[in-house]
């Protein structure tokens, strides 16, 4: 349900009858709710490599002033905020930067856990347009676990200065999810991002995430089999293919979580509305 009207709310929408799908109209439907998430209909996570502008995107949508800084590692805890768009409440979760979901590093645990087990309705993958290739590494990993992704192609202003042109439509086709170019610091691209987030959240756009094929068919099969068994043993467990990989690697933490059955609880504490913004979230898996 809508939270209280905040003073930061931009002016009400323009006259009806105007183009209802054009960007200006839509951004006027944005109501930044600050920390006032209240009850919400959808949870959206903001993820990406370090220093790509995640917190800047988060601030642009929620009206909050989460600290940003020009160095990788500025955000080290989850932060939550909210906004209201087209009659729906969204809870937005700003995550620390991460290079990969495949690693076991402690410093990336918070982001990894939320993406894998926090069950966000939409994951906004913030990408540095000047370093697309390295950023796609994480995006492709996210696409392995979920279809519900919007790629925010941020720092477009810088990539233009570097003389880089990106075929956004082609990129979206390749990835199978919406891609919105933006310059979050200037507020550019926010309306388009909102539009895509809404479409993915409500399932009004067809997404077909690019799935990386493992070269080794044996691996592909092993993951399939194990993921299926995980699904049976722990019904409702998200990211089973990822967990299956972990088991194939012999990751001690994951094995322990399987042994004592805590694997099934993974993410329950993360996704719940009672999660606080300043706390680190440990997993049972380590």
């Amino acid at each position: 349900m809508p939270g209280p009207e905040l003073p930061t709310a931009p002016d009400a929408g323009p006259a009806h009858g105007a183009c209802t799908s054009c960007a200006i109209y839509n951004s006027a439907n944005l109501r930044k709710l600050g920390v006032e998430t209240g009850t919400y209909d959808y949870v959206a996570a903001v993820a990406g490599n370090p220093n790509t502008g995640k917190s800047t995107v988060f601030n642009a949508l929620t009206g909050l002033r989460q600290h940003v800084g020009n160095w990788p590692g500025k955000t080290v805890a989850r932060a939550e905020g909210g906004f209201h768009y087209h009659g729906h409440g969204y809870k937005l979760v700003d995550l620390p930067g991460t290079y990969s979901l495949l690693s076991t590093s402690n410093d990336e645990e918070i982001a990894r856990d939320f993406l894998l087990f926090g069950r966000p309705d939409v994951t906004i993958a913030v990408v540095d347009a000047t370093r697309l290739e390295r950023n796609l590494n994480l995006v492709l990993q996210i696409l392995q676990i979920t279809d519900r992704v919007v790629v925010a192609l941020n720092l477009m202003d810088e990539s233009e200065r570097h003389g880089i042109t990106i075929d956004v439509r082609h990129l979206a086709r390749e990835l199978g999810v919406p891609v919105t170019p933006m310059a979050a610091r200037k507020g550019q691209g926010v309306p388009e991002l909102l539009e895509s987030v809404e479409q993915v959240a409500r399932g009004t756009v067809a997404t077909r995430a690019h799935r990386v094929k493992h070269r080794d068919p044996r691996l592909e099969r092993a993951v399939d089999v194990l993921a299926g068994q995980l699904q049976q043993t722990f019904p409702g467990l998200p990211s089973t293919r990822w967990v299956a990989l972990r088991l194939l690697e012999g990751d001690p933490g994951t094995e322990q979580a399987v042994r004592d059955g805590t694997l099934g609880d993974l993410g329950r504490g993360i996704a719940g509305p009672e999660a606080t913004s300043a706390r680190p979230t440990g997993t049972a898996a380590r």
Partner: protein, 81 residues
Amino acid sequence: MTLDELRPDHRATVVALEIRGVQRRRLMDLGLLPGTEVRVDMTSPLGDPTAYLVRDALIALRRSQARAVHIEVHDDEPGRR
């Protein structure tokens, strides 16, 4: 030859990583894996670490780690500007 021996502005391609486990993962997460092209960008004033250009990002590595990265230097050196 290993990455720590690469001279400024020269380019090379990674051929192997001579470390295991977490450390290896870290380097791969950063985009440093066999086949990746690297270039020395600058060295810290105290001589270590060195910043390398890896897939368009500037990544600083200590010598002890660079030593574990085996490379093949490109012929057309020094690298194009």
